[in-house]
């Protein structure tokens, strides 16, 4: 078993049962069975960070916690002689009972950014300051859903932190995170979470797939428009008859492709070019976006003035004008192609700009510190 998993998750969760020596033989046997399965479960884990996050709220943890509650209740209610009960004075204190959650708390505290989760745990521990009566403590836990909140609030720390660092219009990536966040805000117990996440797991591919197709549709048009404009420029500059001929043939093919594309848009989706250019997210993909950060929040793109030029080109392509008539008319807008000599320098500037823009976001704060910690340990990402 991984040493970190053993020392921070396995051992504390097993040792805590030693506090209840007077429980029944039946319960002892159930606990021993759980301990064996818990050992195998921990032994299979290789990624401590992922396991530490997924363990709390898992069936195994819920079962262990249930056994612990029963052990505490038995200690409170009686010893292993069925009708012989201990007095309440011998029962474990509320503070000791809540100690089982310290491992989880320490783990999320170490992460540094999981503030909602930290607050949920602190509220849970504060129950020991509110009462030293075990049943009253459980009434508080039940009324305020404090045990559920250490699961849900910590999940929201993760989902909302990631979400904040995403492009909200980019549904293919942001929708799954946003939808999980909504589920955790809505549900109140594990079985409801199970139901909602199963429904969501089935819904996500639909949204992601439709969003991805939309991106592809815009990218196809963007490429054809740029090919058209590039070919037109070849004729405009007329470096040689050969290059002008290449330009002419390129313009004819690109125009044909654009017209076929517009037909495809109409027959497949019932859309026109306006549906692409008027959709805030879809039109971005006409500008050949490239991610500037790890979550694709900021993107390097072609000059957005191109939108006007693209509209003009699409109108030109579907007009009845011949290519020669088009060439004899001065365009109102020009297409801006990507940088050439300044490309590398601009990439550096744009990445620095993205870093600065993202610097206030918790996700990126955490990401940098994680990278720094890894570097200190001699690991480079």
């Amino acid at each position: 078993m991984d040493a970190m998993i053993k020392s921070t998750i396995y051992d504390p969760n097993v040792v805590v049962f030693d506090s209840y020596p007077n429980i029944s033989a039946d319960l002892k046997s159930e606990i021993e069975d759980w301990k064996k399965r818990f050992y195998d479960y921990c032994d299979k884990q290789t990624d401590f960070a992922a396991f530490a996050t997924s363990y709390y709220g898992s069936d195994m943890q819920v079962e262990g916690s249930g056994l612990l509650t029963r052990a505490a209740m038995e200690e409170m209610g009686g010893a292993d002689k069925k009708n012989d009960v201990n007095s309440e004075a011998d029962v474990i204190s509320v503070r000791d009972f809540l100690k089982q959650y310290e491992t989880g708390y320490n783990e999320i505290k170490r992460a540094g950014y999981r503030k909602r989760g930290e607050a949920a745990y602190e509220k849970l521990f504060d129950v020991a300051n509110r009462t030293d009566n075990m049943v009253e403590a459980q009434i508080i836990l039940e009324k305020e859903r404090l045990l559920w909140k250490i699961v849900s609030e910590d999940a929201l720390d993760i989902f909302d932190t990631v979400l904040e660092a995403m492009d909200p219009l980019y549904e293919a990536t942001s929708y799954p995170v946003a939808a999980f966040s909504e589920v955790y805000k809505k549900v109140d117990c594990d079985e409801e979470l199970t139901y909602e996440t199963e429904i969501l797991k089935h819904e996500i591919p639909k949204v992601v797939s439709r969003s991805t197709t939309r991106i592809m549709i815009a990218a196809i048009l963007g490429t054809n428009i740029l090919n058209y404009a590039k070919s037109k420029n070849k004729i405009r500059t007329w470096a040689s008859d050969r290059s002008a001929k290449e330009g002419l043939s390129g313009m004819i093919v690109a125009r044909k492709n654009i017209c076929k594309y517009l037909d495809m848009l109409r027959t497949q989706f019932g859309w026109s070019f306006n549906d692409i250019i008027n959709d805030e997210f879809t039109k971005l993909w006409l500008l050949n976006p490239r991610n500037l950060d790890s979550t694709g929040r900021l993107k390097r793109v072609l000059n957005p003035a191109n939108f006007d030029a693209y509209k003009e080109i699409v109108d030109e392509c579907r007009s009845s004008k011949s290519i020669s008539q088009i060439l004899e008319t001065q365009s109102r807008y020009v297409v801006y192609f990507d940088l050439d000599r300044k490309d590398r320098e601009y990439t550096r500037k744009a990445e620095a700009f993205a870093k600065e823009q993202n610097s206030a976001l918790t996700y990126y704060k955490y990401e940098s510190s994680l990278k720094r910690e890894l570097k200190d340990k001699g690991v480079a990402l």
């Binding site: 009434i139 039940e142 117990c189 409801e192 420029n233 000059n303 001065q330």
Partner: protein, 265 residues
């Protein structure tokens, strides 16, 4: 000192919370039964002993497991995932008959296999569609057309490999919803895609049409070269290379802003 009233209150609270949640009905029933079962006890100790000596000793944990697998089963039913529903139904019935079966594993592998198959079909079916629509708007480029046909064929074969048919997948409402096409477009996709991936796409009519247009236009523009270049001068003097950074809005209702616009002459 805990009182029997507090224990009663605790079970009552749990019963009421669970009753209000449609996914916690087994627990709601169980907690209500336990609450009523200890109603006449005179002390906490007595209630604990009474529970311990009864069927209610493991009943809460049993009810929790039943609620959980009922939730899985209901979700699979609503998602129309019959194979998954059957697995969860079997699990539910096993646990209903014997609480200790809650801790048996093995069913997860069956679930993972079904989910993997579904994920492969999703990937193949959407790839087929994306290749199809790109084929619809590609002329002349024989290399690209062949590549897209290969993509379409690979996707089709991937569907067959997992034991399904393209037509069967297309008829499933879940897979239909992956595709943003309208009904007419989707029908055309299903009808045309199998033929498109196998047949040699004839580009000769496109080629002939393009050659004819090229010949006619070349005559005109080469005769008007000076005029075209002179018109172009104003346009080309405005042409620049450029890049920008798109910054997303805070929420889905907002718009991108474009920063750091750089030009190169």
């Amino acid at each position: 000192m805990s009182t029997i009233n507090q224990v009663y209150e605790l079970y009552d609270l749990m019963a009421r919370r669970c009753r209000a949640n449609k996914h916690s009905q087994h627990q709601a029933k169980m907690y209500a039964e336990i609450r009523d079962f200890i109603k006449d006890c005179s002390s906490v100790d007595e209630s604990m002993v009474k529970i311990k000596n009864s069927k209610y000793y493991t009943a809460a944990a049993h009810a929790l497991m039943l609620d959980k697998f009922d939730a899985y089963r209901q979700a699979a039913r609503e998602n129309k995932q019959q194979e998954l529903e059957a697995i969860y139904d079997e699990r539910y019935k096993e646990i209903e008959a014997d609480y200790m079966k809650s801790f048996q594993t093995g069913y997860e592998k069956k679930v993972a296999a079904i989910e993997k198959k579904e994920s492969n079909i999703i990937s193949a079916f959407t790839s087929a569609y994306n290749a199809y629509i790109e084929l619809l708007c590609t002329s002349m480029d024989k290399v690209k057309i062949s590549q897209l046909q290969r993509d379409l064929k690979r996707a089709y074969d991937d569907i067959t490999r997992v034991g399904e048919t393209f037509e069967g997948v297309a008829a499933n409402p879940f897979y239909r919803e992956l595709i943003p096409a309208n009904d007419t477009g989707f029908k055309e996709f299903i009808e045309q895609a199998p033929a498109l991936m196998n047949e040699r796409i004839n580009t000769s009519s496109d080629e002939a049409e393009i050659q004819k247009e090229f010949d006619e236009e070349w005559k005109i523009i080469s005769a008007n070269k000076d005029k075209i270049i002179s018109i172009s001068e104003g346009e080309m003097s405005r042409a620049k290379l450029s890049a920008a950074v798109a910054v997303p809005p805070k929420d889905r209702r907002g718009k991108y802003t474009y920063e750091l616009i750089e030009e190169e002459v």
